[in-house]
């Protein structure tokens, strides 16, 4: 687990500067937009909710007033029939006047009325308008409206809607009515008696009013119930009575005027209740929560769209801003990276003052580093050269001493020709040794130097060995480090053929092989023990039995200083068989330019 965490942490690469700026800007602005959007939506939602409730209240107020006006007009009809017709006439002799009076009132209100009827205290029909046949076997005293009127004689009573069951309608239709009934005082044959006046209002007048306010195609609706919660009008009246739908009318009937919250069948909704005067009826407006959200749906989309558009715009702005901020830094970084990759670009200087200062500083530091590097390289070359010079300078005095010693005994022995030859060979030797102070000479000169040296040594050693030069002419024109063969030849004489009587043999060979020049010195001397060979090229502090003490280590170092570590000497030897020392140097054509390059310390083909 821990390992996985570590691995995933390792995988997380540091982000680019522009991405970081843009990410930070985006997170901040998206958060702000979301908060703003939510706040805005909540504000709109609350305002819209308030607005819907206010509008509903206004509508209900208006409808309530219309209903009350309608009910008042029905009461007025009842009053008019009672005070202008019933009270003014005697039922025994003024039937026509009564009928006429009722007819006038009925005709004036026929759009809202179904019928007007007067019953006596036994339930017998005294008069009715319009004139229709009463059903047989009708006992009105058992009907609700009659009972209510008789129960409370001083009041007018509005029934709940019901089918009118009084008259025989030839059209074979049944009418849904609301009955307004009251006890009235009749006069028959001059005798007062009690009866019931019934005004049957056409239910369709009320249902029309209710249908009008329910016509809006939103989820809110209005219904009318009586004080007991009995539904008078509901747009889903039959669904409710069939159990398909439900309504909380019994609860609403208990409320006074106002706005109430309720949860009905799992849905939260607002109930607005308004009492209808004279009747105890309640006009109830129902606004389910979904009605609020329905109206808010477009606002919701609008806000989301606004957020998206702002996000698009901010993304562009953020990109421009982050680019402006990060661009100079990125350019500076790019130029530094190029510099690190080995190129030599101009360090970018631009952007704000701080970035410019940074660019200047980096540029200055790189310039100083360059200068210091050049200085170090120069110093290194100088050091190499001085080392080389020091090594070369070790050769000359030692050899000169030996050569002069040989000339001295030649002159002393009267061998003037030999002395002359010796001196002339010595002159050649020194001419090449000097070589105008050059370190690198051609292979030809080096071979000439070796020949001169061997001629001198042959005289000194009284021709007790033979020397053969077997060098391919093609290698003459290549570069060679000055005086590399002479110390090897010296070793071959001292350690190889010195102790042999006239049969010593030294072969100097030279050839080009695989792009390298191989110069070898082979003797048939006593050979070198195997354990000694390893020290010959490494240990310069060993005490030499013979010679100047400037050994093969010297030659090897010089070659490697000039050409690199992969070049130098190799020694192969077998006891009593002989020794071969090979020089391996790169095949660099001897030209003035190449010489200068090599002497400056630049090594051909070296990868450092």
């Amino acid at each position: 687990m821990e390992t996985k965490c570590l691995e995933s942490t390792k995988k997380l690469k540091p982000r680019g500067m522009q991405s970081t700026i843009m990410f930070a800007f985006s997170v901040i602005s998206v958060s702000i937009m979301l908060v703003l959007g939510i706040v805005m939506y909540m504000k709109f939602s609350s305002l819209s909710q308030h607005e819907i409730i206010q509008n509903t209240k206004k509508l209900m107020e208006q409808t309530g007033e219309n209903l009350e006006d309608y009910l008042v007009s029905m009461r007025q009809v009842s009053d008019a029939v009672y005070y202008n017709v019933i009270k003014e006439n005697d039922f025994s002799g003024q039937d026509n006047d009564i009928q006429q009076g009722m007819n006038l009132i009925y005709e004036a209100n026929r759009n809202d009325l179904r019928s007007i009827a007067i019953y006596n205290n036994y339930g017998s029909l005294m008069a009715a308008e319009p004139i229709v046949l009463q059903k047989e076997d009708i006992n009105v005293t058992r009907q609700d409206w009659y009972g209510q009127a008789v129960e409370e004689v001083e009041n007018m009573h509005f029934s709940t809607p019901h089918i009118q069951n009084l008259f025989d309608d030839a059209t074979r239709r049944y009418y849904w009515v609301i009955s307004l009934s009251r006890v009235v005082e009749l006069t028959e044959n001059g005798n007062p008696l009690y009866g019931v006046l019934l005004v049957d209002m056409d239910y369709s007048s009320i249902s029309r009013m209710m249908q009008q306010i329910n016509a809006a195609n939103n989820e809110q609706y209005y219904y009318l119930c009586d004080g007991n919660g009995q539904i008078i009008y509901h747009m889903r009246q039959l669904q409710i009575s069939n159990g398909i739908a439900n309504e909380s009318s019994k609860v609403a009937a208990g409320y006074k005027d106002g706005v109430y919250d309720e949860t009905f069948e799992g849905e939260h909704r607002k109930l607005i209740v308004r009492n209808i005067s004279y009747t105890g009826w309640k006009l109830v407006g129902v606004i389910p929560d979904s009605a609020f959200t329905h109206g808010m749906l477009n606002i919701r989309y609008f806000i989301v769209m606004l957020i998206l558009l702002m996000a698009m715009m901010l993304a562009v702005i953020h990109r421009v801003v982050s680019e402006r901020i990060s661009s100079p830094i990125l350019k500076l970084n790019d130029s530094v990276m190029e510099y690190e990759a080995g190129e030599k670009p101009e360090i970018y200087i631009g952007g704000s003052q701080e970035i410019r200062h940074l660019g200047h500083s980096i540029q200055r530091s790189y310039e100083q580093i360059d200068i210091l590097m050049q200085k170090i390289v120069l110093e290194q070359n100088e050091r190499r050269k001085s080392e080389l010079d020091a090594l070369q300078s070790q050769i000359n005095p030692h050899f000169l001493y030996n050569a002069l010693d040989s000339i001295t005994w030649m002159v002393e022995g009267g061998r003037n020709d030999d002395a002359v030859f010796m001196i002339s060979e010595l002159a050649k030797l020194f001419r090449i040794s000097l070589s105008k102070g050059r370190t690198v000479i051609s292979v030809q000169d080096e071979l000439q130097h070796a020949k001169s040296y061997m001629n001198i040594q042959k005289i000194r050693y009284k021709n007790c060995f033979s020397i053969t030069f077997d060098v391919d002419a093609e290698v003459y024109s290549y570069c060679c480090v000055k005086l590399v063969l002479q110390p090897i030849l010296e070793n071959a004489i001292n350690y190889g053929v010195d102790s042999m009587d006239d049969c010593g043999e030294i072969i100097v060979a030279g050839k080009k092989k695989n792009g390298n020049i191989i110069l070898s010195v082979t003797d048939n001397g006593i050979g070198i023990p195997e354990d000694e060979i390893g020290f010959l090229l490494t240990d310069s502090d060993r005490v030499h039995k013979h010679g100047s003490g400037v050994g093969l280590v010297n030659v090897n170092n010089r070659i490697q200083i000039l050409f690199g570590k992969k070049y130098g000497l190799t020694i192969e030897s077998e006891l009593d068989e002989g020794t071969t020392v090979s020089i391996c140097i790169p095949a660099v054509v001897y030209t003035e330019d190449n010489r200068k390059v090599l002497e400056k310390g630049h090594i051909f083909g070296r990868e450092e």
């Binding site: 522009q18 747009m235 989309y301 998206l308 558009l309 996000a311």
Partner: protein
């Protein structure tokens, strides 16, 4: 193109696409979704016997947010005419059809072909007389059970003593599933009661028609097994042309109720036509709204009406639906 630029372009494109989708949704919301249209084809659709059914359709259409159109048809619609009417409605934008099938040759096969295009719901009766083998969803009151109910009410009125009584049976259509099963149910209950079914007529019963009821032999009881025949029989009875026979039957119109109210009809069985309209359209609307909704059969109840309880609170609702 570096990664940062690519990412930026992708984000901008995604945001732009979201804006476009939202704009399309907003426009669609503003336009409002087109209401699905359901056509209803029943025989003699303007007759008052369909009032409660039509009111049920209207209420269901409001509740389900669909548009309903009742095709105006005559009384004697043939099977071919009905198939043509279904085709016409389909070709004129009906998303579903509610049909009261008329008996006819290969009516089921023809309707089945049409059902491949739009859903079809049957009302009132099935195509074949075997109700259980119906290939269509149906909303109806069990006709066989209603026939039984008429017989049971009749039997109950005579305390089960119907021996020697003569009965005449009247149906408007002799071959429809409703007529066949109502008659079957009625006859099976009275099979061993000793009652004598003197005659059984169907078709037109007008004064000039061959089947005029006044021309039928006198019976003690006339049973009308549908609204059309009940109102026709009621008219004969009101005109004293039924030779004093007591009338029983099944009806759905205010006329039928009127004859009960005036004592011409002794007992009236009223199928729940409001729910027939409401449930059939609701079921069809649900199948239009949900692709995976399979319309199912609905068997509705019926009410036994007697004159004494005609104006009870419950029965007033039946009258309310009929009076719309």
């Amino acid at each position: 193109m570096n990664n940062s630029r690519k990412r930026f372009i992708i984000i901008e494109v995604i945001l732009a696409m979201m804006v476009i989708v939202l704009a399309v949704i907003m426009l669609k919301e503003q336009r409002g979704e087109a209401r699905r249209k359901v056509s209803v084809i029943v025989q003699d659709s303007d007759n008052s016997r369909w009032s409660a059914f039509r009111y049920g359709l209207k209420m269901a259409a409001e509740d389900q947010g669909v548009e309903v159109f009742v095709v105006s048809t005559g009384d004697g619609m043939t099977a071919e005419e009905e198939i043509e009417a279904v085709k016409y409605e389909m070709n004129h934008g009906a998303d579903a059809v509610i049909v009261q099938p008329v008996p006819g040759t290969d009516m089921e096969g023809k309707l089945k072909k049409l059902e491949k295009k739009v859903p079809i719901m049957l009302v009132g009766n099935t195509v074949s007389n075997d109700r259980d083998s119906s290939k269509f969803p149906i909303t109806e009151t069990d006709n066989y059970v209603m026939g039984q109910a008429v017989a049971e009410e009749l039997s109950s009125d005579y305390n089960g003593n119907l021996k020697g009584k003569t009965i005449g049976i009247v149906t408007a259509d002799g071959n429809s599933e409703s007529a066949v099963n109502r008659r079957k149910g009625f006859q099976e209950v009275l099979e061993n009661s000793g009652v004598n079914i003197a005659w059984s007529v169907f078709g037109e019963f007008g004064e000039s028609e061959k089947n005029a009821l006044k021309n039928q032999p006198r019976v003690d009881i006339v049973v009308a097994l549908d609204d059309a025949s009940l109102t026709a029989a009621g008219e004969y009875s009101a005109a004293k042309d039924l030779h004093g026979a007591v009338l029983y039957g099944i009806g759905t119109s205010t006329e039928a109720v009127y004859y009960l109210d005036t004592g011409i009809v002794e007992c009236l069985i009223v199928p729940d036509e409001f729910n027939a309209g409401y449930q059939s359209l609701t079921e069809v609307a649900k199948s239009l709204q949900g692709y995976f909704h399979k319309m199912k059969d609905t068997t509705l109840s019926f009410t036994v009406l007697r004159k004494e309880e005609l104006f009870s609170e419950k029965n007033q609702e039946i009258l309310f639906a009929m009076s719309q």
